[in-house]
């Protein structure tokens, strides 16, 4: 079976198949003979030569969360996600950095704003977060209002460069 993983913008192809009691895994040009030691819960223990490795794996939709050797990695199983597209107006949308509630919208559609100017105040877990303009621009469209509960990465407004 061939698997494709996206990590940090790079695509990795891995072929894995059973070979008797072991698995033959090909990563790029390198081929490994892998012996499965234990698979229980989210824990996967396998052997490469006399090295024994433990990986912890969890899955959230198309993302595989993986911890191995004290480090965490997120691998994307899907094709590379479509890049965030500028809207028809030539504006890019600004998104919520986290799940929270909109406390106040500090600008109106059509406003000209300066880089660093606060646009929206969010509150989450009793903390205020200020969404500021990443560059000088014009507010093309507001996509939220005070009181809205917004998800992480949900667009809050569209800002066009001027």
């Amino acid at each position: 079976m061939e698997f494709r993983f996206e990590h940090a913008g790079a695509l990795h192809r891995v072929r894995a198949e059973r070979d008797g009691e072991s698995f033959r895994v090909r990563v790029g040009e390198r081929t490994y003979l892998v012996e499965l030691v234990r698979a229980a819960g989210n824990e996967l223990v396998f052997r490469l030569g006399d090295q024994v490795l433990t990986a912890y794996v969890g899955r959230d939709g198309e993302t595989l969360h993986l911890a191995i050797d004290g480090q965490c990695f997120k691998l994307n199983l899907a094709k590379p996600a479509a890049r965030r597209k500028a809207s028809e107006s030539g504006a890019a949308s600004l998104s919520a950095a986290m799940h929270g509630q909109v406390v106040r919208v500090l600008v109106a559609e059509g406003d000209l704003v300066k880089r660093g100017q606060p646009l929206v105040l969010l509150e989450a877990m009793k903390m205020e977060i200020r969404v500021t303009a990443p560059h000088d621009g014009r507010v093309v469209r507001l996509l939220c209002k005070a009181g809205d509960v917004v998800q992480r990465a949900q667009p809050l407004l569209e800002l066009a460069e001027v």
Binding site: F3, A16, L48, G58
Partner: protein, 501 residues
């Protein structure tokens, strides 16, 4: 002694109190919100009572519902934990009026220490040093005049504040109005009291606090200090005992512990409390900041070095027992460090990271302690503090404790949310931290642009990923391997395991 206690809290501190009660043979009742119906605290308690929906204002802050639950389930006492209603004098009063015991100080002591300006006046009166300050209450112009007199930098703080909320450092007169507005808004929301005051701000400051315990019979002891200088956005993230600063200054420790006892005595304090001081690292001067009239998040480091179980003592004191030791019986041995593991992104302004905990595996090794209220399958939500766990280590010396903590952090597996583990490890490895030269601004100064080291993806990770998908894909299972069964898996079992009529 009580036979049943209600815990008016959630998360790891509710779990901590349940564990203390188990050792004392006391039954527990927890209250919980709809979001916590499947929580570890609910699971571990003997009884659990639903008191409202997820927002704290509809559940954990609903004093009357909590008192009603305590009465209905036959509890004799209420443990408030920390946060929520723990420093709410009206709640303590309501508990008392319902004929129950509040496991904590009297409402009078809570009230006296809760209003910062009153607290400062009280402790000044018994000779405990405090920071030069302006008590507030005037117009913007009054604040501006007082600020010019105190000099910049200064701190704007909420009168009813705590936990870093409603607090700002102001370095120039021009920034004062904005800071006052923001603090007032935050304070109004968090404490329903938007009054503010001003205070001198110390650049090379160390946050050192003293734990005290007092019984109802007039006995009071201190349990030495904790240093909590490592903070991010005014929130403690690493705490230790002894303080590396005081380790070399025993006479300063003695003076601070003595001042702490005087401060607590000034309000006839009973039960566990903490006196927070700020220490000027250059001059060695110390100033009273505030008294927390409750258990602290970081109480485990004191437990590790003194062998005193603070939660069990809180309960015994509330039940009327005298302290089982005198000051001379207490000791501070070895070195303990706690770090707080948060679901947050240290590379992005420490923004909380909500989501499902796909897998949590706490480390397991000698002389480490994990206090946590969540486990695999739980969620970190917008409603509550995003702390996942407190990891506490104890060792003979500070360098050994740091190595132990680092090894434990390396072994901690948390999948599904971004955590501050890599950040904490980098702080532990910082030369200033290793030398014990910690000030409250270390994180801000040395880690402002922190990014996780970008580890290249090892082939072993790709092998594990592919293998895990292959095993899930229904390909022939590896018979040689031990594969654990999960009897509650929602996926049907194929091996004919089916019993009953």
């Amino acid at each position: 002694m009580f036979t049943r206690i209600l815990i008016a809290n959630r998360g790891e501190i509710a779990v901590r109190v349940i564990r203390a009660c188990r050792e004392l043979g006391i039954q527990t009742v927890v209250v919980y919100s709809e979001a916590d119906a499947g929580s570890l605290a609910v699971q571990l308690a003997d009884h659990a009572v639903l008191i409202g929906s997820a927002p704290p204002s509809d559940s954990y802050l609903r004093a009357e519902r909590i008192v009603e639950a305590a009465r209905r389930t036959g509890c004799q006492a209420v443990h408030p934990g920390f946060g929520f209603l723990s420093e709410n004098a009206a709640f303590a009063e309501m508990v008392r009026e319902a004929g129950l015991t509040f496991i904590g100080p009297t409402p009078e002591a809570i009230r006296a220490m809760g209003l910062k300006t009153e607290a400062l006046a009280r402790v000044r009166a018994v000779g405990v040093p405090t920071l030069p300050s302006y008590a507030g209450g005037g117009s913007l112009a009054d604040f501006q005049r007082a600020a010019d007199q105190l000099g910049y930098p200064l701190l704007v703080k909420a009168v009813a504040g705590g936990g870093g909320k409603g607090m700002r450092v102001v370095r120039t007169a021009a920034k004062l109005p904005e800071a006052l507005e923001a603090c007032a808004r935050e304070a109004g929301k968090a404490f329903a009291d938007d009054r503010l005051f001003l205070e001198r701000y110390i650049e090379a400051a160390r946050h050192i606090e003293v734990q005290v315990l007092a019984d109802q019979h007039g006995n009071m002891v201190h349990l030495f200090e904790r240093e909590c200088s490592i903070q991010r956005r005014h929130q403690k993230i690493i705490e230790e005992s002894p303080s590396p600063y005081l380790a070399a200054r025993p006479e300063l420790r003695a003076a601070m512990c003595e001042a702490a006892l005087r401060a607590a005595q000034s309000v006839n304090y009973v039960n566990a409390g903490t006196i927070e001081f700020i220490v000027d690292a250059h001059t060695g001067e110390f100033f009273f900041l505030e008294m927390n009239t409750r258990l602290q998040v970081e109480h485990p480091v004191t437990e590790a070095v003194t062998d005193v179980d603070l939660v069990q003592l809180q309960i015994r004191i509330a039940a009327g027992e005298p302290l089982p030791f005198r000051q001379a019986d207490l000791y501070q041995r070895g070195h303990a460090i706690e770090c707080r593991i948060y679901a947050e992104d240290p590379a992005n302004h420490f923004l909380p990271s909500t989501g499902d905990l796909l897998y949590v595996l706490p480390p397991s090794a000698p002389h480490i302690r994990v206090d946590s209220g969540v486990r695999t399958g739980d969620s970190i939500t917008i409603h509550y503090d995003p702390m996942i766990a407190k990891l506490i280590v104890h060792a003979r010396t500070r360098p050994e404790a740091i190595r132990r903590l680092d090894a434990a952090l390396a072994a901690y597996v948390i999948l599904g949310v971004t955590t501050n583990i890599a950040f904490l490890r980098d702080v532990l490895a910082h030369p200033d931290f290793l030398r014990g030269e910690t000030t409250t601004r270390l994180v801000e100064r040395a880690f402002a642009d922190w990014q996780p080291r970008c580890a290249p993806l090892p082939d072993s990770a790709l092998i594990a990923a592919a293998l895990s998908l292959l095993l899930q894909s229904g390909a022939p299972a590896a018979h040689a391997a031990r594969v654990e069964s999960d009897p509650f898996s929602p996926w049907a079992r194929l091996d004919g395991f089916r019993v009953g009529a």
